[in-house]
Symmetry: C2
Subunit: 246 residues, 2 copies
């Protein structure tokens, strides 16, 4: 049987998982940030990632809907606001659409998700189902990847602005707004799991939830890489870059 970790040992273990398995390390992200993606590959990434963005409020409301703890519900509600926006105020999903529109994609093509890779769809849905079906502790812990996101976002912002002349600060607004939100959310979740995972079984459940979520993010990039990089086998019905953008 696994021994009980101290809260700081648990944190160190979680951070080590991020350092070795976060999707920042995926070849597709290296290409994206390094400037070697074609415009069509950048479009495919933004179009597919839109579905993840669009489903995040569904995922978060799913967590709130099963949460008997009012304090946790209140803290989690902030995420709905960050992504959906407030009446009259833009949220993360709308900012993501500014990116896809800035990349020349048709808004309805993106919002309808009709050009999505099946692999993207299944991975995102697996995340929503995990949050719906697993323990509340695991549902919360599956958000732990935000611990690692401020770094990837700053790399992405700098790399994409430097390397693609069709990417502007205006279209990258999402990435300018997101890091402080992600940092606040990550601090909350890390504190929550360190406080609430009090048995070896609960700690393993937290580790398993982060492992699951790291797989979700990684497999979304695997699907992109397979379709748009190597072997470049685009599934029937999925987004096809325009000839000049390929």
């Amino acid at each position: 049987m696994t021994r009980l970790l101290t809260p700081d040992e648990l944190e160190a273990h979680l951070r080590e998982m991020g350092a070795t398995r976060y999707h920042r390390l995926h070849p597709f992200h290296r290409m994206l940030h390094g400037g070697t993606c074609s415009k069509g590959q950048v479009q495919a990434w933004a179009l597919n990632r839109y579905y993840y963005q669009a489903m995040i409020p569904i995922k978060d409301a799913t967590l709130i809907a099963r949460c008997p703890d009012r304090e946790l519900r209140r803290a989690w509600r902030q995420r709905l606001e960050d992504h959906d926006g407030s009446p009259g105020g833009e949220g993360g999903i709308e900012r993501w659409l500014r990116l896809t529109e800035g990349l020349g994609l048709d808004r309805e093509d993106v919002v309808s998700t009709r050009l999505l890779l099946p692999g993207t769809r299944y991975a995102v849905e697996a995340y929503v189902h995990f949050v719906r079906d697993r323990s509340l502790l695991e549902a919360v812990a599956s958000a732990l990847t935000e611990l690692f996101s401020p770094q990837i976002i700053s790399e992405r912002l700098a790399g994409m602005l430097a390397n693609y002349d069709y990417v502007t600060p205006e279209t990258m607004a999402y990435f300018q707004k997101r890091p402080p939100q992600a940092q606040r959310d990550a601090d909350f979740v890390l504190d929550y799991v360190k406080t609430h995972a009090r048995t070896p079984e609960q700690q393993q459940a937290v580790i398993g939830a982060l492992s699951f979520k790291l797989d979700v993010l990684w497999s979304m990039l695997d699907a992109l890489h397979h379709a748009y990089v190597s072997p470049g086998l685009i599934p029937p019905g999925a987004f096809v870059p325009a000839p000049g953008d390929g």
Copy 2:
């Protein structure tokens, strides 16, 4: 086959249902507002109704979690805030606990719901399940009872303050805050169903959803009446008023 109603005919039909079937007409509410409840009966009502209040954010997050329409999600999110409150700010659930504490009930007895009538529990859960399982239009329409709530709340506030010396404006804070929220929500839902119920089948689904919800509210009072008024048969394990309050 039922014919298509105009939106105004649909509204008139819904309002007529409220005028004849809303729980304001239940004998228990007449007692409560009219001043003929014992303190024990008022306590039993507040303790049981707490569960409804506490489950409302779960119900509303359940709706948001299945809603692909960002605008509807944003509008509905306001309900979470009204009931759960904001960090540092009191919400409807906390205000309801001020009532139960003002009535002399132990907070933990109320929050744990361990003294709840089974009939209350089943009715409230039926509401949450309805919102989870039926069409989104029906889920939205099941909130239509708010159309009728400003009137019942003002009657309750005036009647209870006038008739029970242990009820104070401070403990009735919930009812002072709620009417403008309910009015705003009711206007939104009425407009939504008038706009979105475009076929006879959809209009019947809306009518059915309101009918269901009227039954939920009525049956909660039936359970109270049976247990605490006539025949006064309190189920095993449920709240028993103190001898002097019976």
